[in-house]
């Protein structure tokens, strides 16, 4: 299982802050994993958002493995102004 976290407006759009998804395979590319997430949460917009795997920013082509934590995050807005 992969722990999936949604933040900010993405949690509002999916109606979910945290869930677990079955991988079915030992590893998937981030892009393929996101397709899986979108099938489960059709309300998830395609962009813009950032993905982190185990608290590190995931570059295109990065892998998601069983047991990982995947965070799906809208553009950041800390700091204000």
């Amino acid at each position: 299982m992969v722990r999936v976290l949604f933040f900010g407006i993405l949690a509002a759009k999916t109606g979910c802050r945290e869930t677990a998804l079955d991988m079915e395979k030992p590893a998937l590319k981030v892009e393929d994993f996101l397709d899986k997430v979108r099938k489960r949460f059709p309300g998830l917009p395609h962009a813009p958002y950032m993905v982190a795997v185990n608290e590190e920013k995931a570059e295109p082509g990065a892998m998601v493995r069983d047991g990982d934590e995947v965070a799906i995050m809208p553009p950041f807005s800390g700091g204000l102004i």
Partner: protein
């Protein structure tokens, strides 16, 4: 060691600007300048009255990203030290949100580093702001 000894913090509690500046001043007699950036909650945003703002963070990743930002800035600029505190609780207008304080021998590098830190923080630290208005709540979409 108290919590305030840590140079990078994400916390609910308010912070003391004077305390953070004093830590920088007292840590090195080479210090000739301390430049600060203070982010404050406004009561109006894009035509809407704001009752308060709230922040959500991605726990450890947000703190790690802020610590990395400080390390990067210390390498990039000729400064002595940097302290950063970001609050993540509900904050009413006039309340303090974020402090970045930079000490250096000469003012120019401290100004540059402080500006770079706040601009980079907004792009690299997983924090999200929600505005609470009399009509309801809305997540803020950052401007470029």
């Amino acid at each position: 060691m108290t919590m305030n000894d840590k140079p990078v913090r994400i916390q609910s509690a308010d912070f003391s600007i004077e305390e953070e500046i004093n830590i920088l001043k007292n840590s090195s007699l080479k210090t000739g300048a301390v430049v600060t950036f203070l982010g404050v909650a406004r009561d109006f945003s894009e035509g809407k009255e704001i009752k308060s703002i709230a922040f959500e963070q991605y726990g450890k990743m947000a703190l790690k990203a802020m610590e990395r930002l400080r390390e990067d800035a210390l390498k990039r600029f000729d400064v002595i030290d940097i302290r950063m505190v970001h609050r993540v609780t509900a904050i009413s207008p006039g309340g303090q949100i974020i402090l970045i304080a930079v000490s250096s021998e000469h003012r120019d590098e401290a100004f540059k580093a402080c500006r770079w830190c706040i601009d980079t923080l907004k792009k690299t630290v997983p924090l999200w702001k929600k505005e609470i208005t009399p009509e309801g709540e809305s997540w803020v979409t950052p401007h470029p």
